[in-house]
Amino acid sequence: MPVNYYIFVSIALFCIGVVGVLTRRNAIIVFMSIELMLNSVNLLLVAFSKMHYAISGGGESLKGIDGQLFVFFIMVVAAAEVSVGLAIIVMMYRNTHSADINFLNRLKH
């Protein structure tokens, strides 16, 4: 597979995520779109890792393994972020009974 395919696919996913962030008002969905962005990055990383593996000539070489490890770390971080993020959203929901990111708009100008 040409790596460009993967590049473009993940960019597409990434941009869809961005669009989600831009267009949705529900905090949770916005957050999910962000997760989507992260996943697109993961895909890209894996693709690249395999690419570098290919470049290095395949076989027993471990070239490109760090890419996959990075993905692992991204997942870790994502998990942490999710826990915090959802906590924040819940907290806000407790106070306002709304998950709308524009509901609270005291801070401006």
Binding site: M1, P2, V3, N4, Y5, I7, F8, V9, I11, A12, L13, C15, I16, V18, V19, L22, T23, R24, R25, N26, I28, F31, S33, E35, L36, N39, N42, L43, V46, A47, S49, K50, M51, A54, I55, E60, S61, L62, G64, I65, D66, Q68, L69, V71, F72, F73, M75, V76, A78, A79, A80, E81, V82, S83, V84, A87, I88, V90, M91, Y93
Partner: protein, 166 residues
């Protein structure tokens, strides 16, 4: 065109389609479900790339744990699919345009990159296998591994601080 290609295109289509549905669907619950579908598709890609470990982790962590967490929260808030959950038309339109522009610009920027002729080793290659990953992780990447525990600690403390009722 070989099976790999077919799978690739199929998975891609699924991923992109469901991703779009995540953004478009009115009901948050649908969005979650579509997101899970998208994650599965991505995991499929991983398998296609012979990154088995990541594929499994992706399923377990993301599609499993994280998404379930999302679902719980949504249920807990029992958000009804109100129509006003969308921003007004103009902002939405602008949002789509912006996203499209970003896509086009990045593609335009990267299309004539010298990566064109670079191929991706599908199947084959054992860097995706858990033992090699494990070995590298605990040899090479032990420090980030340890330090990420700090991250978790802080996340934990944070969740407690914020979640705890007074």
């Amino acid at each position: 065109m070989g099976i790999t290609q077919i799978l690739f295109w199929f998975l891609t289509a699924v991923a992109l389609g469901s991703a779009l549905m995540v953004v478009l669907s009115k009901n948050p619950v649908y969005s979650v479900l579509f997101l899970i579908v998208a994650f599965f598709a991505i995991s499929g890609h991983y398998i296609l790339l012979n990154a088995q470990f990541l594929a499994i982790v992706n399923i377990i962590v993301y599609a499993g744990a994280i998404m379930v967490l999302f679902l719980f929260v949504i249920m807990l808030m029992n958000l009804s699919p109100e129509s006003n959950i969308h921003k007004n038309k103009l902002i939405r339109f602008a949002g789509f345009i912006a996203g499209l522009c970003l896509f086009l610009v990045m593609v335009a920027a990267l299309k004539d990159a010298s990566t064109q002729k670079q191929l991706v080793e599908t199947s084959g290659g054992n860097i995706g296998l858990i033992r090699y990953l494990g070995m590298t992780l605990f040899r090479q990447y032990v420090i980030p591994f340890e330090l990420s525990s700090v991250l978790f600690l802080s996340a934990m403390v944070g969740a407690v601080v914020i979640g705890k009722k007074e």
